[in-house]
Amino acid sequence: MNTRNIFLMNLILGVVWGALQENITASGFLTGFVLGFLVLSVIYRGYAGTILGIFGYIIFMVWSIIVASFQVAGYVLSPQPKLDQGIVEVPLDVRSDLETAILASSITLTPGTISIHVGRNQDGERVLYVHNLVMGDPDEVRRTIKREFERRILRVTRGGVIV
C-alpha cells in the first residue's frame, strides 16, 4: 500500500460518513475525513507524518507568500529601489516531474525569487535557473533554496509508508 492508495481510502471513508448523515453537507464529509485519518494513521505507520507534512508545507507556503508580498510592496513603494538582480543556477536533487513542478512553483511564490527554466548546464547536470531580486552571494542563494524547499519536498514525497 502506498500513500496514494491510503489517501484514496481516507477520501472514500469521508464520503461514506458524509452520505450516511441526515443532511449531506461538506462539514459531514470533513468530520468523516478527520475520523478516517485518525483510524488510518493508527493502522499504517508513517501515513500521519506524510499528510501532516503536506499540511505543514501548505501553511509554510501561505506564510512565505505573505512575507514575499510585503517585501515586494517595500521595494515598489520605496523612493529609490535598491535592486541587485541576477540569475543563479541551482542543481536539482529532485527527479520526477511532479517534484520539479512543486519546487519551481514554490520558488516563484517565495520572497525575492522566480524560477525561470529547467535546463542543463555545461557539465550536463539538471539545473533550475532562479532569478533573484536582491542577490548577494550566489552560493548562499543555492544553499538557502536547497535547505528551505528541496529538503522539505523530498521529506514528503520520499517519506513512504511503513505497512
Binding site: 510592496a73 521595494y75 529601489p81 540569475i87 522566480i114 535546463g119 542543463r120
Partner: protein, 116 residues
C-alpha cells in the same frame, strides 16, 4: 457595522492594497523580471484575500468551499504563468543586461538557439 462586516472590509482592503502595489510595481520597476516579481506575487495575495472576503460575505458553506478551491487553482496556475512569461522574456526579448549583475543561464546548453 458588525464585527463580521468589519473583518470583511479589512480583508478586502488588504487585497486592494496589494493589487494597487502590483499595478504600481509593473509601471515603476526598471526591467521585465522585477516587474514579474510585482505582478506575480503581490497580485496572488491580493486576489486570494478578496476571494476569501467574498466567501465570508455570502455566508454560504458551499460558496465558501468553492472560493477555497478557486484560491487553490490560482496558487497552482499563477506561478506557472509567471515562470512561462519570464522564460519567454529571457529567451527572446532584448532584456536590459545592465540590470543583471550575475547570469548563470548564459551557459545553458539545453535551450534552443535563436535562428534568423
Amino acid at each position: 457595522m458588525t464585527l463580521g462586516e468589519i473583518s470583511i472590509v479589512l480583508l478586502s482592503a488588504f487585497g486592494v492594497f496589494f493589487m494597487l502595489v502590483s499595478a504600481i510595481g509593473i509601471v515603476r520597476l526598471p526591467d521585465v523580471f522585477s516587474r514579474m516579481h510585482a505582478g506575480g506575487k503581490a497580485s496572488t495575495v491580493g486576489i486570494s484575500a478578496m476571494l476569501l472576503a467574498a466567501g465570508f460575505y455570502f455566508f454560504d458553506e458551499f460558496l465558501f468551499y468553492r472560493m477555497l478551491l478557486l484560491i487553490a487553482l490560482l496558487f497552482a496556475t499563477l506561478p506557472i504563468a509567471t515562470s512561462a512569461m519570464s522564460r519567454a522574456a529571457y529567451l527572446t526579448g532584448p532584456i536590459k543586461r545592465k540590470h543583471l549583475n550575475h547570469d548563470d543561464m548564459a551557459n545553458d546548453i539545453s535551450r534552443k538557439q535563436p535562428t534568423g
